[in-house]
């Protein structure tokens, strides 16, 4: 009896060890079905924001053309961000958006809030599979969290191949729900930035500050629709054409941005928190070409975007990959971007004018052109792995749009250029 039990136990152990070994062998196979991409980016603006961003993405092949895509993004930002207030010939004092603490800006300098820092973690996942011959469905979602911001979203793309897979038509839909909860709450539109020094004690300052705050948090809902057409032109030429519609509803004011109110001599009388519309509808058309030219690979795209904030933009992006040896390639990159100002963009408000319904002095929605000049160097390693390095210079050139600078504002830089350097290392395995 005991012998029989022992025999049963040893048989069970053998089966278990086989199972474990089998699983080990299987684990190796499973990992072989996964492709990983990783990248680290460092972004540094002269005297302003510095950011680091790390991405790991994984794509699992589940057979029968079924794939699972997983992504993890971690980024950290620190440094100084333009507040929207104008530079002045004298020193200016500002209160931080949280209402706690203050900072001074030197004469002639563009006001920057230098305590800006945040860390963000984003997770995303998507599943793609064929639905029927020539039909393909991708469905996914994302979750992004930073200290004062939460974004959750779902998306789906349905694609249909025609003409021996030379033509693909796709339809995509995405919905995201964002919640912002800035430190110190959300100010009323055009609430004044108060200074502690104007109050006798902390309590009276705090009571006045609290009276400028409307609510603790707010939300934004965004629905995006994408229509895509991909066409193989010939053996060396692939083309894509997209139309996108994006409708956002909710809080789109930047709770950290100010607009200066100036007198007829350009001297700041007061700084107010900005106010933007709570609806925005954006349209864009995007046209991309992939060309194989004498052993080189050209990726050229153009985007035209327009929205009901009256912001219009043109973007041209060219990447051209040249093989320089069996393993190495070099890819010069050039991007040019040009936008018109949103209709409510104003670099400052005049004291003599009544307040408009909306106003923002955020240069990012003002008239501006930017260019990016970069190069990527990559090498193929053993087992299909790839290592690449990318370096780029990003230049923003904000421009004057109509408003003449009165008095002392004529002697300060209202449209300061911003230069950034990006360095990136990527590894695929």
């Amino acid at each position: 009896m005991q012998l029989k039990q022992l025999a049963n136990i040893s048989a069970a152990l053998a089966a278990a060890s086989c199972a474990v070994l089998g699983q080990d062998a299987q684990a190796g196979t499973v990992l072989d079905d996964w492709q990983f991409n990783s990248a680290i980016l460092l972004y540094n603006e002269t005297d302003r924001v510095s950011a680091g961003e790390a991405i790991l993405s994984a794509r699992g092949d589940f057979g029968d053309d079924k794939y699972l895509n997983l992504g993890l993004v971690v980024d950290a930002l620190t440094g100084a961000s333009a507040t929207g207030a104008v530079a002045q010939p004298g020193v200016q004092c500002f209160t931080r958006p949280s209402g706690r603490g203050s900072y001074e800006v030197a004469s002639g300098d563009t006001p920057l809030d230098d305590t800006f820092h945040d860390t963000r973690v984003q997770l995303d996942a998507s599943w793609e599979q064929p639905l029927a011959p020539n039909w393909r469905l991708t469905a996914g979602g994302h979750l992004s969290k930073e200290y004062d911001y939460l974004s959750m979203g779902v998306n789906s793309i349905l694609a249909r191949d025609f003409n021996q897979k030379n033509t693909t038509v796709s339809v995509g839909l995405s919905y995201s729900h964002d919640t912002i909860k800035p430190e110190g709450g959300i100010a009323f539109a055009y609430a004044p930035m108060l200074l502690r020094t104007d109050y006798a004690d902390d309590d009276s300052y705090q009571a006045a500050f609290n009276a400028t705050r409307d609510r603790a948090d707010d939300t934004k809902d965004t629905v995006d629709m994408l229509l895509g057409l991909t066409q193989v032109i010939n053996r060396d030429w692939l083309m894509q054409f997209n139309y996108s519609l994006s409708m956002a509803d909710g809080y789109m004011t930047d709770p950290f941005k100010l607009v200066s109110v100036v007198n007829s001599n350009g001297e700041v009388q007061q700084n107010l928190y900005e106010s933007r519309p709570d609806k925005r509808t954006k349209h864009s058309v995007y046209w991309q070409n992939k060309l194989h030219l004498g052993g080189t690979y050209l990726d050229a795209s153009y985007r035209y975007m327009w929205d009901d904030w009256e912001l219009k933009s043109h973007t041209a992006d060219v990447k051209w990959r040249f093989p320089v040896s069996e393993q190495w390639y070099v890819e010069p990159q050039l991007r040019y971007y040009q936008q018109s100002a949103a209709e409510f963009y104003l670099p400052f408000l005049q004291q003599s004018d009544s307040l408009p319904q909306y106003a923002s002095a955020d240069y990012r929605i003002g008239k501006m052109s930017t260019y990016t000049l970069g190069a990527k160097f990559g090498t193929k390693l053993a087992a299909g792995n790839e290592l690449s390095f990318r370096i780029a210079l990003y230049q923003q050139n904000p421009e004057q749009d109509g408003a003449d600078a009165p008095g002392v504002l004529a002697n300060v830089d209202l449209y300061e250029k911003v230069t950034a350097v990006m360095a990136q290392v990527s590894y695929s395995f």
Binding site: S38, A39, Y43, V49, E53, I55, S57, V73, D75, L77, D118, R120, Q122, S144, E146, D148, Y149, S151, G153, Q164, K165, T167, S174, S176, T222, L226, L229, Q231, V232, I233, N234, R235, D236, F241, N242, Y243, S244, S246, D254, F256, K282, H283, S284, Y286, K290, H292, Y297, R303, W306, S313, T315, R321, Y337, Q339, A342, M368, K376, Y394, Q424, S426
Partner: protein, 76 residues
């Protein structure tokens, strides 16, 4: 102005639909050697594009085009 844009879009779609209807466009399945290379993928460097989109989303007034434009962060 908007009608002009819509007309422009419609014209472009029409041109492209004509282009796709043309029988000389495209390749046979055995002619996909170059198109099958990863360098020829529309999204050949997905992480580069993702990082770029994030930077430009936070630094400029436009987003999307290649893919969805929607939220994601409160980037400054």
């Amino acid at each position: 102005m908007r009608i002009t844009k819509l007309q422009g879009c419609a014209a472009l779609v029409l041109v492209l639909s004509q282009v796709t209807a043309c029988s000389s466009l495209g390749v046979k399945p055995w002619e996909r050697d170059v198109l099958a290379k990863e360098e020829m993928a529309l999204n050949a460097a997905p992480l580069d594009n993702r990082l770029d989109d994030h930077i430009y989303f936070s630094k400029e007034g436009s987003s999307g085009g290649r893919s969805f434009a929607g939220g994601g962060c409160g980037c400054n």
